[in-house]
Amino acid sequence: MMRPLALEPAPVPRPSTADATLAAADERPAAGLLRGYRPPAGVFDEAVDADGAVRPHYRALIAALAAMDEPERERRFSSAGQYLREAGVYYRIYGGAERGEDARAWPLAQPPLIIAQREWAELAAGLEQRAQLLEKLLGDFYGERRLISDGVLPPALLGRNPEFLRPLADQAASGSPLIRFIAVDLGRGPDGRWWVLGDRTQAPSGSGFALENRVATSRAFPDLIRDLKIQRLAGFFQRFRETLNALDDGRGARVGVLSPGPHNETYFEHAYLARYLGFLLLEGGDLAVHGSSVVVKTVDGAKPIRVLWRRLDADFADPLELHARSRIGTPGLARAVRAGAVEMVNALGSGILETRALLAFQPALARALLGEELRLPTVATWWCGQEAERDYVSKHLERLSIARAFPQTVEEEEHRRPLDLGMRRAPSDRLLDDLANDPASVVGQELVGLSTAPMFVDGRLEPRPVTLRVYLARHANGWSVMPGGFARVASSTDPLAVTMQSGGRSVDVWVTSDRPERPVSLLEATSGFARRLPSAPPARAADNLFWLGRYVERAEAATRLVRLHAARLAEGERRGALEAEVGELLAGIGVDAALGDPAEGLLRRVRAAFETASRIRDRFSPDGWRVLRELVDLIERRLERDETDDLPGLASEVLIRLSGFTGLVRENMYQFTGWRFLQAGRLLERGQLTARLAAALTRDEPPEGALEALLEFADSRITYRRRYSVTLSRETVIDLIVLDPLNPRSIAFQVNGFKTLLDELPGMRRGETPAAVSRRAARLQVRLATADPAELSHLFLARVAADLGDISDLLGEQFFSAAPTARGERPEAE
């Protein structure tokens, strides 16, 4: 897909269903939908030409939309919205009014931005040339630095650039490209030409959102996508995946996506792309540098990795040689890069290409690096480190956007807006101050009057300013452009205010084609297949899965206890010894009924599970995550409406949803190592909580109703009646709840199940010296199997609870600490 499209003859129009309705709509273009659609004067509109006629490549869409009545449009739009909600697409927003940081649902607007094939081909050719320029420019910065020594660029552009990373100053010596995946932000000026507004090379965001926009939009307009032969995005990603896989020389297990973690604005995208491309989602803490290689700390020991697609800002990547305060990096990573142990996509330090001051030297750079003129113009930029330019900027402030000349460092606010495109009109006081006192830190840029595109606002199409981010990937023999992109529309008509943080929205981008494309799916195997077991999960992911299991179980236990507690109070029972015991247990797991609304405690428990799940979204289905989010919503709504007096009702709803989660995990999750950790967490938590409750309720003189409560908690009333047709006795209840290996709620069942899972975990093979966790679990199994219910005291049960706590700790030490030291014997804490 290099650039053959530019050479093809003009497409011959072929009739299609969409074209058939077109003629009718064309005769009265202003009718209905476009009534009152008036782009601002002097601005290019994507859909309508200067005479108000619909442009040819928009006709099918406008006609199709006009042919729908409003309910149908609504239905289509909401099916797109529903997809996004179900897939859990979100991004984080900073500085929200009260909460500071919040996850927002993805704001997709309709209809898509359409770009005609011929125009796109020309644009793509310009973008490919631009990518070559950037690749060579970066190669020079981290190589010979001739552009500086020959005087093409002023020395300050390198010397005071915070993204010139000196520990990697000579990394271009290997000759391999330092950038492989970049984005270019574009805007279309009044003359109809596309202009480059900026380059994104550090860790370009949005390509995953572009994919999700496409999936969502295809739910709304499957017919139009087919009729207009909209170019697909999957092929681009497939090729990119193959390229990264090919960079691995066979020593690494998989390609990793290196993410800053769940608190990043675009973490959803990192998890989504990792899942979509089959890459491993990693954080800095998952990696270690051993000798001359980079390894992933997995539950099965250290596994080498050779290729990292970096979404983490370079400065954070290595606290030893880059930002010493970074807590999300990998010590020694810069050295590993120097040693050629790992391929960074893009290279650490590639953010230097985002320097706005470079835009002031484009023609000279193109001549020096490519020996040709740029096909795609860049926004006119004046770097104020030069006297004449500074004077010009100072005199024309009203016509220019004043911006930072250099990439922002991690401490600065602007840094945290990866999805902002476009420019700002009013410069801050700080910028004006710097223009006077440190002019080299500032650029002036021409304000581009962005083109407008139609967007539905209150059921009508309105022109809204739009910017476009386009993605390019480097393959073995050159660059290719993703046929589509990430477009942003402003919430106001101000052609400069396009930002996601202040209410902007995003639309899908359609590039038309004159021939249907064969569907490419990333699931297609190119040459046969071999069924392979998933590689061992990183220790952090396993740790989170284990705790997810524990938290979900804990939420369930808390809910059962709250229901028990509430039901007894409702039945008019006096607050007696039993209530006190249950209340104490609840307080022990974070639901203090005496202190406040128990629903708030439940919310905390459910949130803990949800937040843990959010950290490992790449590891289980979006449905499971969604169930947990709905749970959080459910309890929050109850609390907001102050309807928590119906606690038993709320508890039942929570229990049903939790069992929904359990069912999804059991039925849908691939039952390998990751799943085993999740299950292990559930079993240990359930065993431990049951043991604690049983110990509390089976003291020598148990409070009134204790045995019923225990059966109720363990959901074993019916089983009890079936198995023991006698009245309740301490002995029989203990037998069923503690020792019966066939009761799925008994402690023995949990311990046996845990031991079975444990034996399947990495490094636990039979015949080898058993690890401490394994020995402890086996011993507990025996103790439960041989115990006599008649002699079983609450002290025994308290000991079982403590044992299960120890086993959990030992499991953590065995698998989650993941230090590369030999896993020697650990002293048993008995």
Partner: protein, 297 residues
């Protein structure tokens, strides 16, 4: 002058740590006017991996990995270094204005190029109050060498050397506003001030002779690692050291370890250990002249 230099750094952790990675920048550098006869670094516990490299600025890095659990870390560096620096002719330097113009236009991209030492670095950032202080004290028409030495002496007079008044994390503004701090703060203030008037300035970490020659006062900051400033005085003279803590030019009392844009480039030890609570650190330095002082011609 030949010195025997000893540096000891010790960390006591509140709980055992393992899998610790460190970078050390403690070995004296080979430079014009300074030659390193021997230098030896010992680390306890014994590192599982140890590698030596030079960084971009030519400083010696020791890269360490210590895998097993340990509750303390100690680093000892012993070196014998000969220092013979020529007395600079500070009068024969371009004016501050000419120097700033030459610095802005200089195209040397290597580690000695002034371009690396003109803009903001992580700690030494342009601050209006500091730039104003520099503009007030530095006459653009004065010979740069003299103006810089005068500035360093003025800093010694204006600022109080006060161990404990600041920490490694104290922002530059704060030390400047209080007019007190340790050698690190002095150096950062001077760097920010000089860069604010277009003069390239680098941060130097190193050692200062601990025992003064008879009849001379004891120098401040001598019992710990010291810091001062290298200033670019034009393409002919190149870099020259100035010590704002003591208000002097750098001659034979100073032993250079590492040069960078500010402290964050040359911290003697960086590392990542996972541990909770405060760690105790200590560090001590001895710089003892070997034999008799030989007066340079």
């Amino acid at each position: 002058m030949i010195y025997d230099v000893t540096l000891n750094i010790a960390y006591d952790y509140p709980a055992a740590v393992k899998d610790a990675r460190h970078v050390l920048r403690v070995r004296p550098r080979e430079l014009d006017g300074q030659s390193v006869r021997t230098a030896r670094v010992t680390v306890a516990p014994h590192p599982d991996e140890a590698g030596r490299e030079l960084d971009f600025f030519g400083n010696a890095l020791d890269q360490l990995l210590i895998l097993p659990e340990h509750e303390a870390l100690s680093v000892a560096m012993r070196a014998r270094v000969e220092v013979r620096r020529a007395l600079p002719d500070l009068e024969a330097t371009p004016t501050i204005a000419d120097l700033a113009a030459a610095a802005a236009a200089d195209r040397e991209t290597g580690p000695t190029g002034p371009m690396h030492f003109l803009g903001d670095s992580r700690i030494a950032r342009r601050i209006d109050a500091v730039s104003a202080y520099a503009r007030e004290l530095i006459d653009p028409a004065a010979p740069a060498g003299e103006a810089v030495l005068a500035f360093a002496s003025r800093m010694k007079a204006d600022f109080t050397f006060a161990p404990g008044a600041t920490t490694v994390d104290t922002p530059l503004q704060e030390a400047f506003a209080k007019r007190e701090g340790v050698c690190q703060d002095f150096a950062h203030v001077m760097i920010a001030a000089l860069r604010g008037v277009g003069v390239p300035a680098a941060y130097v970490s190193g050692f200062l002779r601990t025992s003064p020659p008879p009849g001379r006062p004891r120098l401040e900051g001598a019992d710990a690692m010291h810091a001062w400033v290298d200033v670019w005085l034009g393409p002919d003279m190149g870099w020259q050291g100035f010590d704002p803590t003591n208000g002097v030019t750098v001659l034979d009392d100073h032993v250079v370890v590492a040069i960078g844009r500010d402290y964050s480039d040359v911290a003697p030890i960086d590392g990542v250990v996972l541990t909770a609570g405060p760690q105790k650190t200590s560090h001590s330095v001895d710089v003892v002249p070997v034999g008799e002082r030989v007066r340079k011609a």
